[in-house]
């Protein structure tokens, strides 16, 4: 079994790990790096539970090989809070009861972050389409959509940026 060294930035830190050439980044993050906040729901890119950010783009970690992460910047749920302060999305998910079982939550938060980074003032419809690649079976999505809209409003208010 050939294991190749992979170097990349994960949550702001330089990391190096070994991975099999055919191993998914999802497995490597969970088993080699220990980032179990990245969840496997399907392994086929259909549920979004393993969503992470690769250079700021939302990506299913199950759909890329671990060695493809070489040289890239990855953000996982473990890196979303900044120096102990929750990201507004995390805060709004908590306050808005936007999670029930919580297993899809990491993927939703990262997909939502990718959306707000690109589009700080999304409409409800834009949020719904941006999160259409993430499956939640508990909530019916209502409170998730509201939490993302609330976070956008909070972030705009914090920066004095009018919607």
């Amino acid at each position: 079994m050939t294991r190749v060294p992979v170097s990349c930035t994960i949550n702001g830190h330089e990391e190096a790990f070994l991975a099999e050439s055919g191993e998914s980044l999802l497995n490597a993050l969970r088993d080699e790096v220990g980032l179990t906040g990245v969840k496997e729901g399907c392994g086929t890119g259909d549920c979004g539970a393993c969503s992470i950010l690769v250079d700021g783009r939302v990506t299913c970690a199950c759909l890329i090989f671990a060695p493809e992460a070489e040289g890239h910047e990855l953000t996982t749920i473990e890196g979303l809070a900044d120096a102990g302060h929750l990201h507004p999305l995390q805060q709004c998910f908590l306050e808005g009861a936007a999670l029930q079982c919580g297993v899809c939550t990491p993927g939703f938060l990262l997909a939502a972050k990718a959306l707000l980074d690109k589009n700080p003032h999304p409409t409800e419809t834009e949020v719904r389409y941006a999160l259409a690649g993430n499956l939640c079976r508990c909530t019916g999505y209502d409170k998730i959509i509201r939490a993302v809209l609330d976070a956008a409003a909070d972030m705009a208010a914090a920066t004095g940026d009018a919607a």
Partner: protein, 748 residues
């Protein structure tokens, strides 16, 4: 044994009914929460399961020699490694359960486990599992109730004799049992009716669709003890099953519940847990077995598909046949009991059959059985309303069950909220608004029993006066938050000072399943009672401190107060800090088999727009009204209501198991088994109705399940009113609706 408060006279709650952040929330938004696949033990290896590629076959031989010699392989097991429960004379249900977990002589569905491997890595285990050679004699299969009940159908179990029929059949068949509910005189009832309608309805198996696949970690010791970690709705029940299968006493197994990534009924029974335990025993190392999504679809519980024929409201004549999957146990009995439970119907005959087919054994799915029969009953009611030109809500109000009415399954209803949910919808902004241009509007109601059951709670007061609440029900949708609110309310302390903890099976007493919408009711009851024991104890300690009588001490706002006002109040923290001098640690355990669950009702309203070019149905607006009894944390009550509705929307419009002619599943993945996504949906408007359950200290009924009962019928009714196409078969997918639209146009 306890005085039940009347919640209607106790409106002044400080914490109950508020919306604090849930205690486990932070871990779940930061990736720290440990679900079962996240656990890593020292020296742990990985398991994989070899599964049947056939829907029905006899196992001729299993050759594991190649697999055993492969790199990294530490243990290989087959059915022969487990005790033979049939030989040991175990009850039939246990024998069947053991054969469900791992096949012995026959495989009965595609995905049926036949062997398992433990190896150093998951990839090695999967490769070795694929190298196990099983010789099969493929048998003809029966996939649906129609096929399984047909003359000459292949018989799955040669010892299955239909129960509850007279005379007892002499030969085996696929019909496991018959269930009947009846009252009054059908002929009289139908003779009195002006309009009699009858239709045949079918539904397809659908999967619960929880996002977290099943997983278990087992660590068997040489002394026979087994430590197990898994996510489930029922640690004690799965412990019992695992003990039977591996041949040990339940108490030799300790289950530590992991966080659970959705269940909806599907995680109430064992799948990989006994396999992980046996692999660990054989490999003498901790073993983790994680299903992939393909395995979840192939081998874990869908709900029943069904066929139903139906009557009308002054009399109801219902015939049902439900798929049980490969082993008996469909929810047809519950369907018979719930079918007309929303209404007061004097004459009825409801007959159901439990039928085995070559599919995975069905598992509970949110109000099991009720949504399937409600699709027929509530659809037919709407046709009746149209036939007599009556408002569908008024028709339901005229027949609604209420206090004093005998439920079709026997007991007389105490105070219930069926009428109130109808009125809430009738009076809603949604119903009072005109139907949007190009849309159709549908209404349907639903019933679910809700249950009580065994629960136990321990409340510990720490030396700083903060409180731990320890109980045994896995938190599947926010119940920790409710337990914290109950304790805060009872003890008069800030909810932030309460830490709920879900304990392992050695630490807490036997706790029934997280299911039946029972946790807020039953676990809530025992938490409340344990807190009351704590309060009594604290008053005793204050009386001792003040050297006064107990009845001179009140517990108010989290502190002991002397009725005379002459003593400085003693806070919980003050009393806790001196506990050693007043009788030792402050702790109370309360246990009860809780009775008096309150029935739950839901009425729902939907506007749909059908694209007649494509047959696609858009949900334009949706409102659900549900009787919660009392909403302890309203956000999570709304969440249960919204989640149930959206699962129902998927069941109505898209979801179904699609099988190939050879009996194998054609859509075992989320790409082809399409559950609703955010862009399919509008907001789901909620109206929380609170008709208190008279048998609970806070009026709780239970809210988890009934929300999934009405959606399929509500949507069918809306489609009918939009397109003049009445669909009697689920799902109402674009292709099926388009075909109905074409038929309509051909008729016109």
């Amino acid at each position: 044994m306890t005085v039940t408060d009347d919640p209607t006279t106790n409106p002044g709650y400080k914490w109950v009914g508020t919306r604090p952040i849930r205690p486990d929330g932070l871990d779940k938004v930061t990736g720290k929460a440990q679900f079962s696949a996240d656990l890593v033990l020292p020296n742990m290896i990985e398991g994989a399961v070899a599964r049947s590629p056939h829907a029905h076959a006899r196992i001729v031989s299993i050759d594991t020699s190649v697999a055993e010699a492969m790199p990294g392989v530490q243990a290989v097991i087959t059915g022969a490694d487990f005790p033979d429960l049939a030989e040991a004379g175990a009850p039939a249900a246990d024998v069947r359960e053991s054969k469900k977990i791992i096949a012995r002589d026959k495989v009965l569905f595609e995905g049926h486990p036949v062997a398992a491997v433990a190896a150093t890595t998951r990839q090695e285990a999967q490769k070795a599992a694929a190298a196990i050679v099983v010789e099969y004699e493929v048998l003809p299969h029966a996939l649906t109730v129609s096929e399984a009940m047909a003359e000459g159908a292949p018989v799955l179990h040669d010892d299955l004799i239909t129960a509850n029929v007279e005379p007892t059949p002499e030969t085996a068949s696929n019909v496991a049992s018959r269930a009947v509910q009846q009252r009054g005189d059908l002929d009289e009832g139908f003779a009195a009716a002006d309009v009699v309608l009858e239709h045949r309805y079918t539904t397809k198996p659908v999967h619960q669709g929880y996002i977290e696949p099943h997983a278990a970690v087992a660590d068997a010791s040489q002394n026979g003890r087994v430590n197990l970690w898994f996510s489930s709705q029922s640690p004690f029940d799965i412990r019992a099953t695992t003990a039977k299968l591996i041949g040990c006493s339940p108490s030799r197994i300790k289950v530590t519940p992991a966080e659970i990534g959705g269940g909806f009924g599907g995680k109430t029974v064992a799948y990989v847990e006994p396999i992980a335990a046996m692999l660990s025993r054989k490999a003498n190392r901790p073993v983790r077995v994680v299903m992939d999504r393909h395995e979840v679809f192939l081998a874990t519980g869908p709900t029943s598909g069904s066929v139903t024929n139906d009557g009308k409201i002054t009399a109801a004549d219902i015939w049902m046949a439900f798929e049980a999957g490969a082993f008996p146990g469909s929810p047809v009995g519950a369907a018979a009991m719930t079918a007309i439970a929303c209404y007061d119907v004097p004459n009825f005959f409801i007959e159901g059959f439990d039928v085995v087919v070559n599919k995975p054994k069905v598992a509970a799915y949110r109000a099991p059985g009720a949504p399937i029969i409600a699709f027929g009953v509530e659809g037919l009611l709407d046709e009746l309303a149209r036939a007599i030109d009556m408002d569908p809500i008024e028709l339901r109000l005229a027949n609604a069950a209420e206090e004093g009415v005998q439920a079709p399954y026997g007991p007389v209803h105490p105070r219930i909220g069926m009428v109130e949910t109808l009125e809430a919808i009738r009076d809603s902004d949604h119903y009072r608004s005109p139907v949007p241009e190009g849309c159709g509007r549908g209404v349907a109601s639903g019933f679910w029993f809700n249950i009580g059951g065994n629960s136990v709670a321990t409340v510990n007061v720490h030396e700083d006066g903060n409180v731990s609440v320890i109980y045994g029900s896995p938190d599947i949708g926010g119940s920790r938050a409710s337990m914290a609110l109950f304790a805060a309310e009872e003890l008069g302390i800030d909810v932030e000072r309460v830490t709920p903890h879900i304990a392992d099976t050695d630490t807490i007493g036997h706790t029934d399943v997280t299911g039946g919408s029972r946790v807020t009711l039953s676990a809530g009851k025992v938490v409340v009672e344990a807190c009351r024991m704590i309060k009594d104890d604290l008053r005793r300690r204050a009386a001792k401190t003040w050297d006064c009588d107990l009845d001179e001490v009140d517990w108010v706002d989290g502190q002991a107060q002397h009725v005379s006002g002459t003593e400085s109040p003693l806070s919980l923290a003050a009393l806790a800090g001196k506990a050693g001098r007043t009788g030792g640690p402050i702790s109370a355990t309360y246990t009860e088999n809780v009775r008096g669950a309150g029935a739950g009702f839901s009425t729902q309203l939907v506007d749909v727009r059908v694209d007649e070019e494509t047959g696609q149905t858009e949900i334009v607006r949706y409102t659900t009204a549900q009787d919660a009894g009392k909403a302890i944390h309203p956000s999570y009550v709304e969440g249960q209501m919204q989640g149930g509705v959206v699962q129902g929307i998927g069941w109505a419009l898209n979801e179904e198991y699609i099988h190939r002619a050879d009996g194998t599943l054609d859509n075992p993945g989320f790409l082809d088994y399409r559950i609703p996504v955010a862009s399919d949906l509008p907001m789901i408007e909620t109206i929380v109705v609170e008709v208190p359950n008279p048998n609970h200290p806070y009026g709780v009924r239970g809210v988890g399940e009934v929300g999934i009962v009405p959606p399929m019928a509500a949507i069918a009714n809306a489609i009918d009113r939009s397109t003049e196409c009445r669909l009697h078969d689920l799902p109402m997918s674009p292709v099926r609706l388009l075909s109905a639209i074409n038929d309509r146009d051909a008729r016109d």
